[in-house]
Point group: C2
Chain length 331, copies 2
């Protein structure tokens, strides 16, 4: 393995000089040229571990997400990686499976100076585990301590979901959500929805299921939701004619259950999800939904994180615009 020493010897300079050109610190042009040639000739690459040890800078960022089974998180991680790769950073992926202990362990790892920064979608109250010197950007989630947050416009998303259902003739609509209830931007989905309902005076209601943030085929939350939907049948008629689900995944579960119950979507019941995912990410929208600007969110996170790493200040909360997309489950 070729080291900085070999390069220095080959170029006839000191290791300090090589280090300088490596780090873009000014060196006389002739020296710089020599060093660069030697680097090329020897195929030298800096040893991240040596650099990380000495410089407290690793060019690595970690992201904590529940998992990559949720397509939204997979997309988010995909674009975060892309944004980081453009500026020569690496991405360590940490799946918490929504487990407090795993989130703690990962945040701890990050704190112990193993990464330059952290992007996280967490679901537990891990405030006390944060520290001031680790740059962190949170997605959706508020921490008690001052952690900068990036989110989509959840309130507006809930609002236009309700409006869409009302406009298209619904008379009795419901918001169904699952996941953690800790302080999070995502709670505004329900608020926006309900405020819009109140304003028009339509009948509405809201239901919550389970703490599970990521849904599983055959999981408990799915089971509860399905049972609830069955209970909403009244003399062969479904009580609600419009449903706003807190995510596309939940919406998908609801749609499949309703179809199985013999209902027609969107004629009997309209369904709107949240996320805006396409079928296998290449096809049409899987269902009508509020689309999150996932790429924009990812790039914003990275952009903000870099500012934090460079000790610049950024706004506490950045909200990015959403839009309604038609996936055939609305009229």
């Amino acid at each position: 393995m070729v080291t900085i020493k070999d390069v220095a010897q080959d170029a006839g300079v000191s290791v300090g000089t090589v280090s300088k050109v490596l780090n873009n610190i000014y060196v006389t042009a002739v020296y710089k040229e020599k060093v660069e040639q030697s680097i090329k000739r020897l195929g030298y690459q800096v040893n991240t571990y040596a650099r990380g040890l000495k410089a407290q800078r690793t060019n690595t960022v970690a992201i904590i997400v529940p998992d990559l089974i949720s397509p939204f998180f997979a997309l988010l991680v995909n674009y975060v990686e892309q944004a980081l790769a453009e500026i020569n950073y690496k991405l360590l992926i940490c799946n918490s499976h929504c487990k407090k202990e795993k989130e703690f362990a990962y945040i701890n790892m990050a704190k112990q100076n193993k990464v330059d920064g952290l992007i996280c979608v967490t679901y537990s109250n891990s405030d006390e585990y944060l520290s001031d010197d680790l740059p962190i950007i949170s997605i959706d989630r508020h921490f008690k301590s001052k952690v900068c947050c990036v989110a989509s416009d959840n309130y507006y998303g809930g609002k236009i979901a309700a409006e869409k259902l009302i406009e298209t003739g619904c008379k009795n609509i419901i918001y169904i959500r699952n996941g953690s209830t800790i302080s999070s931007e995502t709670l505004k989905r329900g608020q926006g929805f309900m405020d819009a309902c109140k304003k028009t005076g339509i009948d509405y209601c809201a239901m919550e299921f389970g703490e599970e943030t990521t849904l599983e085929k055959g999981g408990e939350t799915e089971h509860k939701v399905c049972r609830f939907l069955e209970e909403c049948m009244n003399h062969d008629k479904f009580v609600y004619d419009g449903i706003f689900a807190s995510s596309d995944s939940l919406g998908q579960i609801i749609i499949e259950k309703l179809k199985q119950m013999g209902l027609n979507i969107p004629m009997d019941v309209q369904v709107i999800g949240y996320d805006g995912l396409r079928a296998l990410n290449v096809g049409a929208y899987q269902l009508s939904s509020i689309k999150q600007p996932v790429k924009d969110m990812a790039f914003t996170c990275v952009n903000h994180l870099m500012k934090l790493i460079n000790k610049e200040t950024i706004e506490d909360l950045t909200i990015l615009p959403v839009s309604f997309v038609d996936g055939g489950t609305t009229r």
Copy 2:
């Protein structure tokens, strides 16, 4: 930040002794106890970078995949992370976007001793860039040099896809694929399909589109495939009554196009994909498909990689079983 030195001082032993308990090397019980208490009390965690520098062991593995937009790759990475987390390894994610240069760069990074091993799904002939001392497990792809490979039973998958179409009454079927044509296990999907067709004497054909491995909404491959499908209309009748697509994503594109052309799936045309993905990963199968054992593949990769890291030998090629799943696009 608390270091090994602090622990040593606190426990009243030398740093070497602390290092030993850290690495599970035998130390007298009394010492061990003391050290462990100090570690706990001080909240010590080893510095990965110091260890990586000295020990040539980083407990980090990298995975190269085209991207996480393809749900199959996202699932694969998800389970690889899970398998690694169980044995205390971290995962660095490297998206190549199928670009040769990015694959090279990542393999190079890995070679320069930045990770303990590499799992990769590559799409270029990067043999010359491999080295003997970096443990690598490949998924699907053969390298000229001896790199161990894990794959699903592509040949059998293609075979049962053809058989299913034939059994259900198809008279003229086609295999449509996209992606790289370099030596890969995935090429066997077509072979299995065609061998099964030959055996029964049915009319069949095969089409290839583009080098793009990951499909994009509105991308070139999608465009070509759609145009081809249009050309298959003969007097308001579609020439083929059964299609086997090389992936679920491609199958999804095909299905949407056929529907748009006014055809009924599966009555007019049956479609079978490859991967076995569910709608948003929580719903029903998105289409009829050959299901890859993605979790098993991920765990096998990690298992094999660990053996390689420990200098054990493993088989050159591991093939895992597939099965047909009904997603409503077959009769």
